[in-house]
Structures are given as C-alpha cells and as structure tokens.
C-alpha cells in the first residue's frame, strides 16, 4: 500500500535535494536549510556530503488513518523508539491488530503501570479479525511502562510494555 508512494516520495525528494544543491552552489552561502511540515533538509559546504535529514512519515503517504484500525508505520524510527524496541524487557505484539488493556470496555485493566506481574498473567488482548489473542507476561517482574493506549491499532512486533 505505501511502497509505491514511498518510491514517488523518494524521487521527489531527490529532485528537491538536487535543486537546493544548485542554489547552494550558485550562492555564497555555507549552509542552507529547507523545512516543511513533511520534510526537513539541511545542506552545508565542507568535507561531509550533503545530508538530508528525514522527518517521520510524510503526511501524504497513503497509510491508514489512526482512526481506521491500522497504524501508520514511521519511515524512520526515532532513537527513543529504537531504544524501547531493543529493551530486553520489551513485550511485543505477535501480530497486527487492535490492543485492549481490559477484557471488556468497562472492566478493570488487566494490569497497571508499576504493578508486579506474574509469568503467564494476561496483560493485554490483541484483536485481529475477531480473534482474541491474550498477551501474557513472559516472566515475573514489574510492569514499568505501558506503551499503548486502550483500543489502539498496533503493528506486528510493536512494543506494548516494558517488564523489568
């Protein structure tokens, strides 16, 4: 769904960088920055190559709106996201779906941030195609962070919580 438009976006960005480079070359400037809501590019003269700084997924990419039940995958994960994903206590979703923090809409949460949890205890349910998948604690520990909201669409392998 998004791949073809990613190609188009990359091509447009390449042309943009080429155009900005031409402006920089034709001027006495040592540095040039270009920024919109979708992209930020900084060019500078010196020993390093031109380095476009990409922002997360452009708004124009045809990914599902947040309300639609499928999340937009960021084009480049932030350092914070990478840190969380590689955290040894990260509990990740085994599938694409919608995550629930309680068994029913008005029921108490399976577990709250800061609580001790037991191995095998259900912490979330991920629903996909009316299949309910309990996500359980892999080991005893403390639920230090819950990284998702109730009824939030989630991606495969997305971190849901940190257990330490």
């Amino acid at each position: 769904m998004a791949s073809s438009s990613k190609g188009k976006t990359f091509s447009a960005e390449t042309k943009l960088v080429e155009g900005l480079t031409a402006i920089l070359d034709a001027s006495n400037l040592t540095e040039l920055e270009f920024e919109t809501e979708e992209i930020s590019i900084r060019l500078s003269r010196g020993s390093t190559a031109v380095a476009p700084a990409m922002m997360p997924a452009p708004a124009a990419m045809p990914v599902a709106p947040a309300a639609a039940g499928a999340p937009a995958a960021p084009a480049a994960a932030s350092d914070a996201d990478t840190d969380i994903a590689s955290h040894p206590g990260a509990l990740k979703s085994p599938m694409v779906g919608t995550v629930y923090l309680a068994p029913e809409p008005d029921a108490p949460l399976f577990a709250k941030e800061g609580e001790q949890v037991k191995k095998g205890q259900t912490l979330f349910i991920v629903e996909a195609m009316k299949v309910m998948n309990p996500i359980t604690a892999p080991a005893d520990g403390k639920l230090t962070r819950v990284l998702v909201d109730n009824a939030q669409p989630i991606e495969f392998d997305q971190p849901l919580a940190i257990i330490e």
Binding site: M1, P62, A64, P65, A66, A67, A68, G69, A70, P94, M95, V96, G97, T98, Y100, P103, E104, P105, A107, G120, E127, A128, M129, K130, V131, M132, N133, P134, T136, N150, A151, Q152, P153, F156
Partner: protein, 269 residues
C-alpha cells in the same frame, strides 16, 4: 433436560452421523459457554485437546466480541466450540476466522434449500442469510492453541431493533422440510470444520481467504465500520493478505481495518 448427555470420539457414530478422524464431540446440557469448556480442555490437555468439540444445549453466559452477551436459550441454537492447535506463527492465527466462518457457511448452504435465501459472509466471520445474521463466531487464543466458538440461530431468532443486521434463524428458511436437529447439525459442522481447517493448514490461509471472498457480501459495497477509535466509512475493495478489510474512502485513500463492527449499507448485503 438430558438431551446432550454423552460423548462421541473420532470414528464413532450414532444414528445422527459419524465423525472424521481426529475429531470428537462432547455434548453438555448446560454450561457458562462452550468456549469456556474448550478453553479448559486446552489448558488441561494442551495439544491432546486438538479436535475436541463441545456442544452446549444452553449457555448461561454466552459471549461475543468485547464481552457482549450472546443470547443462548435452550434449543434455540447450536452452540459449539472446538479446540485447534495449529503449528503456525501467531500472526497467521487471525486468518482462522475465515476458515471457521466458511465452514459454517458451507454447513448452512447444505441445509437451506430455499432458492430465495441468499447465504453470504460478512467480514470477518459473520454468516448472513438475506442480510440477517444467522451465525456469529468468536475465536480465543490461549497457550498452545486456539478455541473457535460458533453460535448458530436455529429458531426464535433474538429480536434487537438496534442491530444493523437483524438476527434470523434457520427455521425461517426451512419451510419445505423439517430442520435438522442441533445434534445432527453439530456432526455436519464438524465435517465442514475439518475440511476447511485442513485446507487452511495444508494449503495456506490465502486459499481459504480466496474461497471466502466468493461468498462475501461486501466486495464493492459501501460499508460503515465502528472501529474501537471511531466510525469509518468507505467502499470495500477486498480482503488483505492476512485477512484485514480493505476500504477506499471518499478521497480515494486506502484504509486497512483489523477490528470493528461492520454494517453493509442497505440493499447491498
């Protein structure tokens, strides 16, 4: 009531039918829900529970999606759950929804001989007859397996005017002949489940989704979907590779849905 006092194992038969290899049925008069019985069997027996089916005459706490109550009066429906232990990655489990609903569809198609009755499927696993909901399915995964529960209305379809697709029951489409008993239908359903499950497991979920789409009432139709985050509307363009519903909104943007209540707009089911 002692209508359902016994158990039949694979290969055994009684006057209502026989079972395919690897499958069994246990009949109970009453239980909180057939899914609870199947989940208990899975928890206790692990892989050894695979293929066990549980039929309940009356569910005291029948449930649907998000804990919604499923009306389950004695004799009004077939309430059956089966234990499956597929050796497959977790991300493919949701596609089992299509195998189970296709099996229910095929069983009902065998029973309904009224030419005016159109049997169809609604994403992800509802079975409709003439646009009314005749069967609902809920799958619950657990350690080592998954339980598939089916509720099929046989008579006295519950009336709830708030439902977008009002309930219908099998007896409404059986004018020309006496409808089969719940017990006989359970046997037939196990046969269709075994067949669809084998295709899903051996030939892959794509094959099942391909067959499922042939009976889908939604392709090309305008739909409203109440997702956990709000209402989404659009035209259904198909089913994604892992079973997600694909819509195109008014702006032409493609939307992928994994959870929600679907309403097919009037006249299109």
């Amino acid at each position: 009531m002692t209508d359902f006092p016994d158990r039949l194992d694979a290969g055994q038969s009684d006057k209502t039918g026989h079972l395919p290899a690897g499958w069994s049925i246990a009949f109970f008069d009453t239980a909180p829900s057939s899914n609870d019985l199947a989940l208990s069997a899975l928890a206790e027996q692990k892989n050894a529970a695979a293929g066990q089916c549980f039929v309940v005459g009356e569910q005291t706490r029948g449930r649907g999606r998000l804990g919604r109550q499923w009306t389950s009066n004695p004799g009004d429906g077939l309430y059956m759950s089966c234990v499956l232990c597929p050796d497959t990655p977790a991300h493919l489990l949701p596609s089992l929804s299509f195998a189970i609903s296709l099996a229910v569809h095929n069983m009902l198609a065998e029973q309904i001989r009224d030419d005016r009755a159109k049997i169809s499927l609604k994403w992800p696993n509802d079975v409709l007859v003439n646009g009314g909901k005749i069967a609902g399915i809920l799958l619950e995964a657990s350690a080592g397996g998954i339980v598939a529960g089916c509720g099929i209305n046989l008579k006295n379809a519950p009336t709830d005017p708030s439902q977008k697709h009002p309930a219908v029951s099998l007896d409404q489409f059986s004018a020309q002949h006496a409808p089969a008993s719940a017990r006989a239908l359970a046997f037939r359903l196990v046969h269709h489940l075994a067949e669809c499950y084998e295709v899903w497991e051996q030939k892959g979920h794509h094959k099942i989704i391909e067959s499922w789409q042939r009976y889908c009432a939604m392709i090309g139709a305008n739909v409203h979907i109440q997702t956990p985050k709000g209402l989404v509307t659009g035209r259904c363009t198909g089913i994604g590779g892992e079973g997600q519903l694909i819509l195109q909104d008014e702006a032409g943007q493609e939307i992928s849905i994994t959870a929600g209540d679907v309403e097919i707009m009037k006249g299109q089911a």
